[in-house]
Amino acid sequence: MALDKEGIAKRIAKELKNGYYVNLGIGIPTLVANYVPEGLQLEFQSENGVLGMGPFPIAGQEDADLINAGKQTITTLAGASFFDSSTSFGMIRGRHIDLSVLGAMQVDQSGAIANWKIPGKLVKGMGGAMDLVASAENIIVAMMHTDRKGNSKLKSKCSLPLTGVACVKRVVTNLAVIDITYEGFYLKERAPQVEVEEIIQATEGLLIVPNQVPEMILD
């Protein structure tokens, strides 16, 4: 059964490791914070200038000076810090952020990602995405395997304007966990009860399928 967004977030949460500084993009990536495995020491960064983000505030505790990159009101945990945008992107560019999770419109088998612009459609800008994908040590893309029309978002070559090249290491979709290797996409795990054939059908780029494709473990 294909995963829903929460399922994708749950699977990505398994990638979190002790000591990771993590930047979560808007959308599915934000949900990952809800599934942090117990006992892990982690800090969440938001590129507008905060490290050590906590949960959203309770009513009455919101503060106009405390927001995340999605402009949502936030709180901070003990050990948090605030800093300017130059320092914030310095953390990203300097590879101090260990993991960046982003959404995408397309990923291709060379690790390129397109997630900011559709020619002819309204462009909202790349925000921090180009800095993040050019810099973070580990970049995981969280997205649906196909778009609303059923077109694969895992391409042999991105057709949309790129956000970055040779940067995505792993893609977690509603159907599968797919790594980007020198040879192309590599099918690492399938969603519970999803058949390998369905994943092959939904993937446009070259997909390497090993003999055994384990099911994701989500809990």
């Binding site: 905060v50 106009a64 927001i67 402009k71």
Partner: protein, 232 residues
């Protein structure tokens, strides 16, 4: 000590002219120079080039300058959440230059610190790199980005003193501190203006040397763009 205080928002903006390039601090509606923006929106000035991370919302923040058709060119990073801006962009009334946010921050900081240009990996292999020099360092590809050149930086800080020293609060620091001193004139509005000696010299985020004029703003709204509460 060198005193940077001016009596009000009008004197703070003395010398600003149509067609100038402005840097505006803030991220979304967080840490925006409310008084300065409102005053420019009401003025007869126009045709500005604005450098700012975002474009505000329709009726607040930088959005006020779009509403009053003050902007000719917008240099920003994420320009969603503002319908009037979108209309002007789609009808080609304004020119829009999109820049990776970290590059935008570093181009401001470079201007502030007298660095004319630097290399960054952000945007390599994308349309952002078009026309820019590409160079490898330690087998990774980078593109050359130059410092911004601006006439006025419009800044919002939390506390400031008469010497122009600034302290920001929370994530309202964002682009404000990197834009101070990055333009020919840096104008700062603060929520609280204090006599010199009231701020601990160890705790100053931006030394007054980066500030030309400072005043205490009035009637701060400090709107929240996206109120999100914990679901209990």
């Amino acid at each position: 000590m060198i005193t940077k205080t001016v009596p009000n928002v009008s004197s703070a903006l003395e010398g600003i002219q149509s067609g100038m390039t402005l840097m505006l601090g803030g991220f979304g509606l967080c840490g925006i120079p409310e008084n300065l923006i409102k005053t420019i929106a009401k003025s007869p000035l126009k045709d500005f080039t604005c450098i700012s991370a975002n474009v505000g919302v329709d009726d607040f923040g930088l959005g006020l300058l779009f509403q009053h058709k003050k902007i000719k060119t917008m240099i920003g990073s994420y320009v969603g959440e503002n319908a009037e801006f979108e209309r002007q962009m789609l009808s080609n009334e304004i020119e829009v230059v999109l820049t990776p946010m970290g590059t935008l921050a570093e181009k401001c900081r470079a201007a502030q610190m007298g660095i004319p240009a630097f290399y960054t990996p952000a945007g390599y292999g994308t349309e952002v790199a078009e026309g820019k020099e590409v160079r490898s360092f330690h087998s990774k590809k980078y593109i050359l980005e130059e410092a911004y050149q601006a006439d006025f930086a419009l800044i919002k800080a939390w506390k400031g003193d008469h010497a122009g020293n600034l302290i920001f609060r929370g994530t309202a620091k964002n682009f404000n501190s990197v834009m101070c001193g990055a333009a020919k004139n840096t104008v700062v509005e603060v929520e609280e203006l204090l006599p010199p000696g009231e701020l601990d010299p160890n705790q100053i985020h931006t030394p007054g040397i980066f500030v030309d004029r400072i005043f205490e703003g009035t009637s701060y709204e400090k709107r929240i763009e996206n109120l999100t509460l914990k679901t209990l």
